[in-house]
């Protein structure tokens, strides 16, 4: 685990001088903004699961990008440290490649949304209905 993934909020996470109580970073970072939250789906539980799913999708993307960085460093230098990973800046062509990867990744994650949009206004039979027409009655 790199340092940024270690639990935070303990020593060193404080602010405002050595005497100040440390900030509870995890709680503050995930704090709710003031103002009642809108829920868009009829069942808010569905939206909660969507939020958790997208957070996981985000973390998986970060992990995939980290692997890509490691592959790049190993290919170019044959070795690497954690500091090398944090200092890594993709060359323009690499950044573009990674950008395209993100685009495809999101298109895969959100495939059902694309297909729902394509289904709008389409007058199509289900397979069962199509089968009925193919007989015998």
């Amino acid at each position: 685990m790199s340092e940024d993934q270690s639990p935070v909020g303990g020593a060193g996470a404080g602010a405002g001088g050595a005497d100040a109580a440390p900030l509870d970073v995890m709680r503050l970072a995930g704090a709710k903004a003031r103002g009642k939250r809108p829920y868009f789906f009829e069942d808010p539980d569905v939206e909660r699961v969507l939020a958790i799913t997208m957070a996981l999708a985000g973390e998986l993307a970060v992990l995939r990008a980290r692997l890509d960085t490691m592959e790049e460093l190993l290919e170019k230098r044959g070795t690497m440290t954690r500091a090398d990973i944090d200092a890594f800046v993709p060359a323009p062509a690499h950044a573009e490649r990674r950008g395209r990867w993100y685009q495809e990744y999101l298109a895969r994650i959100l495939r059902i949304v694309q297909q729902d949009a394509e289904a709008c206004g389409a007058d199509e039979p289900t397979s069962e209905e199509a089968g009925q027409r193919l007989g015998p009655a």
């Binding site: 405002g16 503050l28 789906f41 800046v89 949009a117």
Partner: protein, 406 residues
Amino acid sequence: MAATEASENAAYDGPPDYRSVGRHDLLPETTHDEAERYNFLAQLNRHLAARVLPGVEAAYHGEMLPEFRRRHGRAPADRHEVRHALERHPLYRTWSALRRNTMEMRQQAGLSVVLPQLPELVDRAASSTGSERLRLDAAVHPPAYLTAVDHHCMPGSYHTERVPGDVSGAANYDSGLFVTTGGLLGRFADGGGHGIVDFIRRIRPGFAPRRILDLGCGLGHNVLPVAVAFPEAEITAVDVAAPMLRYGAARAASLGVDNVEFVQADATDLAQFEEGSFDWVQSIMFLHETSLSALKRIMAQSRRLVAPGGLVTHVEQPCYDAAMPLFEQSLRDWDALYNNEPFWTKLHEIDLDELLVAAGFERSRLIHAGVHAIADGEGFRDAASEDVEDYGRKPAWRVTGAEVPG
């Protein structure tokens, strides 16, 4: 990371890599994974605008509008009816739920970057030479229009002081703004400032203001291009939020800009400045975060403070008018209703011309024009070259203002 061959053929039109944002001493450090979290979220925002929203619009015309006509025997009469029709449709709900959640993820991502390094950021701001250009006033309190809800879902909004000498709200805003704009505001997120400079140069070639007042400056993103464009001018940038000003003053110093003074003041109460003491009074994307009563006072203050021969400009979201389709109006309301920008929708309804005239500006000298952000930085595309419209985040705006007789 290999993308498929087919997609390699089309020009890449997505956000740039987060690591290409402009650097300065106050910008929070990001680890590899933190930078990639921003990249993911910027890409997700762009996906929602480019890939999901067009489907919502098609479904509106193909399904929701015909259903509305069947139910009511007529077309929707206003944007509110359009919105209620949209809210019945699963695609709009999905797009909205994803969009809201993306904003919340962005806030968590930003605060997770900022808070662990807050002690260093506080020290850096306090010891910056920029602190000499900072004038805070503990008697200035955040107005009601800022405290009712946390603007654009930023926990603590602009003004909360988490620690003494706090800069966390500003650091979070600055660090994560890239996510929302996908780089369309340029590497220093100052495309609005470059846009207004370009506009002023076109309408007033040779304009050489001695003093400029910037209202609601925030952390000063947009005022710095103005300060750089008019190096002989002394600029006063006011805001109510001390964390933004502390950060902004240090950021300006780090970027080598020394002709801006950051002053904690409420734009509705600027009695400390003399009548006619500014050649140019301006704001960029500030008015939509105020209120009608504040707006009237801001216009009156602007009239009092602008010098003979000077000008006033406000860069803002476009006005809802008869020419703007109701679907577009409805989508532009999204941020007001679901992203804690409560005055945004009201401002769209207000005729700023009438407010300017009521404040004492001459109708024949009013200014209106379209203006868009000019993105500075390699790999950053600006609004003029962006063909994805999400009705709110794309930085294509209007400028409203007035010239004052000499």
